[in-house]
Symmetry: C2
Subunit: 360 residues, 2 copies
């Protein structure tokens, strides 16, 4: 949220607080390089709420996990609370035995559409060869209509609805839930749909860096009336591992690239449809081409806050439904749309099965 033209000096700008002492630090102050006006800004190098497990600890034995890396929260108040109500998930520490319900979770898969995430949970249930009857896979958050959640073995599947603040609320409550349930060695993956830039519809994009509308790898969060800028770095090894998984699937166009995350589907993504459009077709194309040149291969509305909150144990895998250099509207035949939407699910299923030693 720096005004265009007001830039922080790259050498002076940041008090790079270590994650562990983040909340002990006061807000930092940095001058505008042009005029010296002091701005109250935090740049936190990484939130890393979920610490990555070493690959060996995950792969050595499909039933045993060694070298536990627990999910932790950065909130000194949380453990002193008599009860923690996870309001939007309709769960709580007094009303539910979170350890018994979720203690064995190793993979969390999140996505926008409730229907698509239910389909993924049923697909994972089948792929993992679990004994539980399919009818017994119920929505754990059935008491609320905000999100839905399914558990199939070590895989927790949650819908986060669309867009940044919605996924942020869900992630706050999910991470707190994993903390209360003493989960460890957890990988969190967002699977979704997106608009492509300069690539064929149906291509699966594995995100290496999530960037904002200005092509910067950052997520800006207003806290009280300070602006905190957080890193959106992802684990390169995890991206490579996913990319290698994709090579095993026939006819599966996949690439690793930057993902641009916007606060809006219409004006925020330079669309010419919608109720408001204040720019020309040329300006739109100029913007999208600059995005492509900056390394952006797809656009969606969740990746920056997701990567900022989940840190180095997270991945973003989205299929593209159109090439925004060609058009703005999604007008694929229904069967093609359904097949495209299944692609990230197929890739993540392969990945989880490999991690669990279920693939040869």
């Amino acid at each position: 949220m720096l005004a265009p033209g007001c830039e922080l000096d790259p050498d002076q700008e940041v008090v790079r607080t270590r994650p562990e002492d983040y909340f002990l630090r006061p807000p930092s102050h940095a001058p505008c390089t042009a005029c010296g006006t002091v701005m109250t800004i935090h740049i936190v190098e990484r939130m890393a709420l979920v610490i990555p497990a070493s690959n060996s600890s995950m792969r050595s034995d499909r039933n045993t996990y060694v070298g536990k890396r627990f999910v932790h929260v950065k909130n000194a108040y949380l453990d002193s609370m008599d009860e923690d109500i996870l309001y939007h998930l309709d769960l709580g520490t007094k009303t539910h035995n979170l350890l018994a319900m979720f203690g064995d979770v190793k993979f969390v898969c999140v996505g926008g559409s409730p229907n698509r995430m239910k389909a993924f949970a049923l697909f994972m249930h089948k792929e993992l060869g679990l004994e539980e009857a399919e009818e017994d896979i119920k929505d754990i958050c059935a008491g609320t209509d905000r999100y839905c959640m399914y558990k199939t073995g070590p895989v927790l599947t949650i819908s986060h609805v669309m867009v940044i603040p919605s996924i942020s609320i869900m992630l706050h409550e999910l991470i707190t839930l994993l903390h209360h349930a003493r989960c460890y060695d957890v990988t969190i993956i967002r699977i979704g749909t997106s608009g492509g830039i300069g690539i064929a519809p149906g291509t699966v994009v594995i995100t290496d860096i999530a960037v904002d509308s200005f092509f910067k790898p950052r997520f800006e969060q207003v806290i009280l009336d300070n602006i905190v800028t957080r890193s959106t770095e992802l684990d390169k090894e995890l991206s490579e591992e996913l990319f290698n998984c994709s090579k095993e699937i026939p006819n599966f166009p996949t690439l690793i690239g930057h993902t641009m995350c916007t606060y809006d589907f219409y004006e925020g993504q330079g669309r010419l449809d919608g109720a408001l459009c204040s720019f020309s077709r040329d300006k739109k194309l100029d913007y999208l081409k600059r995005a492509y040149k900056a390394g952006v291969r797809n656009i969606e509305m969740e990746s920056t806050v997701f990567t900022a909150m989940c840190g180095l144990c997270a991945a973003v895998v989205c299929v593209t439904l159109l090439n925004r250099l060609d058009c703005d509207q999604i007008n694929l035949p229904h069967d093609v749309l359904v097949e495209y939407q299944q692609r990230p699910q197929l890739l993540i299923s392969n990945f989880i099965r490999r991690r669990l030693g279920l693939c040869d």
Copy 2:
């Protein structure tokens, strides 16, 4: 999204474009008052996509509307499109007869929860004494799980899920829909839940001004890589009319006040629960007390973009579920929560019935 400390000169800052010529203007440029650094910023006085009808035209006859004020869009490209697919509503100009389906809409009521909005549609159906069987009130957007929509006589009810970008996507498609359906003399009302500041839980707040996290009456939209700041002004007469309706309902605590709209439920609203908390209890209370002093009486996550897009024919009516000066978690008994959530519905039902001449 001005950096703190970088202020626009109130006398020089703005090219106050008239709504009707907004999209013909190039982005304007304004200097930082401290250093003169030029920032590319639009300040649009009002988007006003929905023009208010005169009260007399609405009240003179319950079946006749005179002085038509059509819903219009600010998009020069829209009418030249061969087909307009309203993707997230699962509606389109070629697949649906939008004029026949929606041409008589006069009131649009939007709210976050799909279940709550369905309950409101059924309630309105009963209150308006419509002949159609209750079972025939189907979700018009059943083909998608993004939003749900019900029509009962002249009242269209839509769920917008939570938070700013989600409601913004829905509003783009809703306003375009009303435009395609040639609707006129339409009033749009958001009914929802919120956190109160310094007022008793259960109080209904009618918003006079929607403000952002810095207590400013503005909504900032990134368009391509420009930041556009839009007014969040509401119609005072409509707020007064709603307040007068509230006086007719016994035991119905209601007030008119500012509503603060944030991009987040946890850190963005100064909560001490959630996975991340980087501030102290004292800092939180200081912030909320400053909000109260600035006139804020409740906090939610949709009002600024809603008011920026719907302009002077819109109202925001939210009940408060807790007093944030006392606590952060919503822990009301279920029956109390349900009764509180019904309060905005009851008020809006009274308002619509009065406008339609169904009240004496």
